[in-house]
Symmetry: C2
Subunit: 228 residues, 2 copies
């Protein structure tokens, strides 16, 4: 049971800022461990003890830093969601060309998910069990209600699509369908990875190749579907 502490010498004083958080070493280690365990086992399936073990600390410490399991779970959830959603929204709301947007979303998502394969399954599962969190989430990320930012985000994209359609350079499609199609194609394969692996008889390596190939083909597949 080799123990290791290491509180990077100094600089561990300033607890007590009103701001959300910005702290030490152990707290981070706990968050990392929680992230790992929650993503692997799901919130309900995870045990505080396991997280403590993975962080190499006594499980009372988890409560010292994060009060309760639920709080810890929320922290992990926020962290996970932050990693996946804002970039997509930012890209879609930017003033890039449609082609560029599609390509960037595909590349960003696939790269991100390649590194954290459990993310989609975890997020989808959590959102299904706690739908209310979706609202809090969007709100937390944007700083305001969903209501307020929605037009800003989808407005630009919708206008872009409309113009294209009017110029007969693209088939008509609702913004919602556009977005859902795009993210479906990006995210689903990761959420369904275990299923795909057995259905196609893949090992991890072959799944990786599949994704690599997909990264290249998906943008044109998607855009081709909208050719007039």
């Amino acid at each position: 049971m080799a123990v290791k502490k290491r509180n990077t010498t100094g600089a561990a004083a300033g607890r007590k800022s009103a701001a959300p958080a910005a702290d030490a070493d152990t707290e981070q280690r706990i968050l990392d461990a929680a992230n790992s365990v929650f993503l692997r086992r799901g919130t309900a399936g995870a045990r505080m003890q396991d997280i403590a073990a993975e962080a190499g600390v006594n499980h009372a410490l988890l409560h010292y830093y994060f009060r309760s399991k639920e709080r810890l779970a929320e922290a992990v959830f926020r962290r996970a969601a932050t990693r996946l959603l804002p970039p997509v929204v930012a890209i879609l709301a930017s003033d890039l060309s449609l082609e560029e947007k599609v390509a960037r979303v595909v590349h960003h998502e696939l790269d991100e998910l390649r590194a954290a394969p459990h993310l989609p399954g975890y997020l989808l599962s959590e959102l299904n069990h706690h739908p209310e969190r979706a609202g809090q989430l969007v709100q937390a990320l944007a700083g305001v209600d969903p209501e307020r930012i929605r037009p800003a985000i989808f407005g630009t994209l919708a206008k872009q699509i409309d113009e294209r359609v009017k110029a007969k350079k693209m088939r008509a499609i609702a913004v919602e369908q556009f977005i859902v199609n795009l993210v479906s194609l990006c995210i689903f394969p990761f959420a369904a990875r275990p299923m795909l692996n057995t259905m196609f008889g893949w090992k991890e390596e072959e799944f990786a190749r599949f994704v690599e190939r997909r990264r290249g083909e998906l943008p044109s597949f998607f855009l081709d579907a909208l050719r007039p």
Copy 2:
């Protein structure tokens, strides 16, 4: 605490067949309740007591019929998966035209999922936590190893695609990408339903309209992507 029993009078004798199961009334009621609770809360989040309550029986009965929570969970999982996968495989492996296959898969999936919205989230989540079940599953459904049936299923589809491509009537695409794209577009929106609802500010009714529209547009969207 109103109690209700009701063992539909006669016809509750024949327990004791060597075969998997084919039985009475209570067992079915328990399975239904378990299905409902497991899908809503996830396997780890579900409590035997809740299932018993929803089935209107003492929780010891769950153990009488299904031995343990894990066994019950497996039964529910099998049932859920059976509902979603085999039809798709059957359609894809049939000798219908490509257009027809795509349309049927889309319609079947969307109709099925409309009735059981929690299904995809549940299945994906379970498969992520117990990847080994995927194998057992395919095996159970087909009666043999995945290895054995894979060519039979994807062979026909692959040949169909190849012919089209050679005749210059379709862009080249790997069977795996073809299938993954198709089911991604069908299943993902349901798995992500809570997210979509908040992102777009939908109520259930608007989500339903979204799906209805999707049912009509998805087949051509998908096929158009493959036009030469």
